[in-house]
């Protein structure tokens, strides 16, 4: 019997897991995919917002500002790259300058610090590549950029080290509410990998949280997927944005942002389009056109032929217009962390704390562990070490002497570590998200075959059982007729 089962291994579920791992509790996370961070948490703007966007008084406003403050510590403990690069909201006309003032006031109300309106000249000094049409901007120093994959995986790893169990390919298909009597209550959750009994459920199933809620019979809410498409550019375009560059939100939406990524690429996007299919993360021609046009308005000079990939993510937009973080009114023991759309990534440290407090209010006894270990060792990034350290490392472990990903200079040692770690990588995307092998300009053209080989060897599976992202996403088909080697005519 678990004290708490968390449904969903996105950043919300993992943050809650880590928070609960500070206490003497039996906790597990059930994730339907083969790895962590396969949902919305893998495809977003990766921005730690300052907090002037949300309406004062909402959970979004409160948790955003709280979460932002908590980020420095969380990322330090978990060794996750995070930079407070600051953000600018750019105005292109006098009317828009008036809008900046509204945002500024709202920021103050929400408790955002280090916020100011800068003039054209100051803006140019911050962003030398900004459009000459830009007249002023709202500047906040506290906004930052983070790597959402590393954050999610690191958070989960740390929760795991502190005793939380994780189950993958564990889609919660059915939930039975065990009869509540004598103040006792509980649930039976059924998945393909087994059944789980638990006193409490935390519903952090992202876009699917409404369906989970329906299964359990909680008070209804609904989530609408809203798609956002992006383009990522080669690192040689990264210099074009120093801070996160937003536009003044209009009736048409929040506008397109231009941002550096934590690894030095340039990111542009997102679109905002309500859709029906919760799985539809396709990119579209119109979408890409829209973001290119939008981004050019802020930063005209990026080179289109330097795109390295495009992708789309789905916001889970709740009908309540605010995060749904509460104990269910109908089903005792069910706690929701749902509708976590933007600024969800920013808010999660605060969301996790809030969920734990709700659980306590609902009767969960949380006794602090004395041996909670908040720190996590990062995966060594060979290319970031000094030549001295590189030398020593290769001597200790020659696998660091074989470069597998040429674009990002990722070595075999790093890839093996990513596979062998707790909650390690099981597929190509898993390796990519943990090490960046395959994220560079050649998009796995060079390292793909080599990573497949290493995965097969380390996991002791045949080459053609290696997948891109679990399920049936096999990277290769069967062997060639004659394994192709005969035609080589005895060469070698």
């Amino acid at each position: 019997m678990y004290d708490v089962v968390i449904i969903g291994g996105g950043i919300t579920g993992c943050s809650i897991a880590r928070e609960l791992s500070r206490y003497h509790l039996k906790v597990c996370v059930l994730e339907k995919e083969a790895d962590l961070c396969c949902g919305t948490s893998k495809a977003n703007s990766a921005i730690v917002h300052a907090g002037y966007d949300a309406k004062p008084g909402t959970l979004k406003a409160k948790l955003n500002v709280e979460g932002n403050v908590m980020y420095s510590r969380v990322c330090k403990e978990l060794a996750v790259p995070f930079k407070r690069v600051g953000s600018v909201v750019v105005a292109f006309s006098e009317e828009e300058v008036a809008d900046l003032k509204v945002l500024y006031e709202r920021g103050l109300k929400n408790g955002v610090s280090e916020i100011s309106i800068v003039n054209q000249e100051e803006l140019r000094a911050l962003e030398p590549n900004i459009s000459t049409q830009a007249v002023a901007a709202l500047y906040t120093k506290t906004a930052g950029i983070v790597c959402p994959f590393t954050l999610t995986i690191a958070t989960a790893e740390n929760a795991y080290t502190n005793g939380v169990n994780f189950f993958f390919n564990a889609e919660v298909k059915e939930v039975r509410v065990l009869a509540a009597h004598n103040g006792r209550f509980g649930f039976l959750l059924k998945t393909r990998v087994g059944s789980f009994e638990s006193k409490y459920i935390v519903n952090a199933a992202g876009l699917y949280a409404d369906l989970i809620n329906q299964k359990i019979g909680g008070e209804p809410f609904s989530l609408i997927p809203r798609k956002g498409e992006y383009c990522i550019f080669d690192k040689d375009q990264g210099y074009l944005a120093k801070t996160v560059i937003f536009q003044v939100p209009t009736k048409m939406g929040k506008g397109i942002l231009v941002s550096p990524t934590i690894d030095g690429n340039l990111l542009i996007g997102p679109t905002a389009q309500n859709i029906e299919d919760k799985q539809d993360t396709t990119t579209t021609e119109q979408g890409i056109q829209e973001i290119i046009t939008g981004a050019k308005k802020s930063v005209p000079s990026f080179a289109m032929q330097k795109t390295i990939t495009s992708f789309a993510g789905l916001r889970s937009v709740p009908n309540t217009e605010d995060f749904i973080i509460s104990a269910d009114k109908r089903v005792k023991g069910l706690v929701h962390a749902a509708g976590i759309e933007s600024p969800g990534l920013t808010s999660v440290p605060a969301i996790a704390k809030m969920v734990r407090e709700i659980l306590e209010e609902e009767g969960l006894r949380c006794k602090r562990k004395r041996n909670f270990h908040p720190y996590r060792q990062p995966i060594i990034r060979f290319s970031e070490l000094s030549p001295e350290k590189q030398r020593r490392l290769v001597r200790q472990n020659p696998n660091y002497g074989r470069v597998i990903c040429r674009c990002e200079t990722i070595t075999e040692g790093e890839i093996i570590e990513a596979i062998q770690r707790p909650l390690g990588a099981r597929d190509l995307d898993g390796v990519k998200r943990r090490t960046r092998a395959g994220m560079g300009r050649c998009q796995g053209g060079f390292c793909g075959p080599r990573v497949i080989e290493i995965l097969a060897r380390e996991l002791k599976i045949p080459l053609n059982q290696v997948t891109k992202c679990g399920r049936a996403s096999y990277a290769l088909d069967g062997k060639t007729k004659d394994s192709g080697l005969e035609e080589k005519g005895g060469w070698q």
């Binding site: 030549p387 020659p398 470069v403 040429r406 998009q443 290769l476």
Partner: protein
């Protein structure tokens, strides 16, 4: 820090030929660095024939062609390191490389020859809409899987791009029992060799659709299909009414190659925005003294024979550079791609110190039938014709080469031009617009 007279980065046909010719010229201290597990570069995965028709006047497979050079390298006792990746190179020709056995290596070279080849363009660089499932390969990657690892990428295949690699893979996968449903080409013509269209597609009844592109990819786990459509000839945008779907589990992208110049950029070498390779002179020297380059790293070749020839120039001149540091001045002539021509390599010629003869390599922008390639030299205002050649057919997919003798070039220059180094002299190659032809 160890030192060599010449360090060659990459052991494809370019690196091998350059090393062999530097050796022949008298430099014995040569090191070849290769990141792959064997010498030979991309040729090792090209198990089809069609290599060496010009250079050896024999029809060889890729590995056979490579073997000839590898043997020469081994006979001469030229050193090489395999499984070794060059990570950095400075303009002072200090090289940082790494491998498992020796760890981080620091090597000082008197001259460097860049022969890193090229990489393939990917889906991202052409922005195809749709899902992002498994089953999308660049053609060269698929070729490596089939020919070197013995694995098939899939069963039902669509290929985008009719360059040589796409064509070769269409045949290869068919022979391996896959069903290659179609090859789609955005342009109205193939950028591959005509012989490959015949031998790889027509002989196997694989349809090739010109002016077509892929508009969408379907499938969540593996590719389940694609949509394709005809494009407007002018703006290359898909025509919605012509869109059709086809089921497949594999998509191969053969959408172009990009010279691999991350290292060159680190050394501060000037890159030509058209070729995406270093700007080189008639000796295949880059803008950084003592660093030479040849093969696909300079511009994408379709025939390995040209790679070998060009690389011998690089090797020979790198050796000369090492052996005699004598500098003598020469005027500088820039080559210019004129009407109908996309680019010309080398970009710079020093007529007074060039070899007896040089080869200009160029690509044309469109298909030209029965036209003349014209070469002039002189100032902008006063270009003098020095050479012209008639070609029955010229296509963007087939690199053109022209041999020019030193006298021919010198003839077009006044001796007293030699005083200044950059005199604004240009050697222009262009396609004569029909009907405007003046008698020479």
């Amino acid at each position: 820090m160890v030192g060599y007279d010449i360090v060659v980065i990459g052991s494809g046909p370019a690196g091998l030929a350059a090393a062999a010719s530097a050796y022949k010229e008298g430099v014995k201290s040569i090191l070849i660095i290769e990141r792959d597990r064997e010498l030979g570069g991309i040729l090792q995965q090209c198990i089809h024939n069609g290599f060496g028709l010009f250079y050896f006047t024999q029809d060889l497979t890729g590995p056979e062609y490579a073997t000839r050079f590898i043997e020469k390298v081994k006979e001469n006792g030229i050193s090489y390191k395999l499984n070794t990746m060059v990570l950095d190179i400075t303009s002072e020709r200090k090289i940082i490389a790494i491998n498992k056995e020796e760890g981080l290596l620091e090597i000082q070279a008197k001259a460097v020859i860049l022969a890193m080849g090229c990489r393939e363009r990917t889906r991202g660089s052409i922005n195809i809409s749709g899902t992002r499932p498994a089953g999308i390969f660049t053609a060269g990657m698929a070729q490596r899987f089939v020919n070197m690892e013995g694995y098939m990428p899939g069963k039902e295949v669509v290929i985008l791009g009719s360059g040589d690699i796409g064509l070769i893979m269409a045949r290869r996968l068919t022979l391996e029992g896959a069903n290659v449903k179609m090859v789609l080409e955005l342009l109205p013509y193939s950028s591959g060799l005509t012989r490959n269209i015949v031998q790889c597609l027509q002989d196997y009844n694989i349809p090739l659709y010109f002016n077509h592109t892929i508009t969408k990819i379907y499938g969540r786990d593996r590719v389940t299909g694609i949509s394709f459509a005809e494009v407007d000839i002018k703006d290359k945008r898909p025509i919605a009414e012509t869109e059709k779907e086809v089921a497949c589990d594999t998509l191969l992208l053969a959408v172009g190659l990009i010279p691999e110049n991350e290292l060159s950029k680190k050394a501060g070498i000037e890159i030509d925005p058209i070729t995406n390779g270093p700007v080189v002179n008639d000796r295949m020297e880059t803008s950084v003294e003592g660093i030479f380059a040849s093969g696909n790293v300079v511009h994408v070749h379709d025939l390995v024979d040209n790679v070998s020839k060009e690389s011998e120039v690089a090797g020979r001149n790198a050796a000369k550079y090492v052996l005699s540091h004598k500098k003598f001045p020469s005027i500088k002539v820039k080559t210019v791609a004129g009407h109908g021509v996309l680019y010309v390599v080398p970009q710079i010629i020093h007529p007074q110190k060039m070899e007896e003869e040089i080869t200009l390599y160029l690509r044309v922008k469109d298909i030209f039938k029965d036209q003349r390639l014209m070469i002039t030299i002189g100032t902008e205002q006063n270009p003098k014709p020095i050479h012209s050649i008639k070609r029955l057919i010229m296509a963007p997919g087939e690199m053109q080469s022209i041999n020019l003798k030193r006298e021919q070039i010198l003839k077009g220059i006044h001796v007293n031009d030699a005083a200044g180094i950059d005199t604004g002299l240009k050697l222009t190659v262009y396609i004569e617009a029909k009907g405007e032809r003046k008698d020479e």
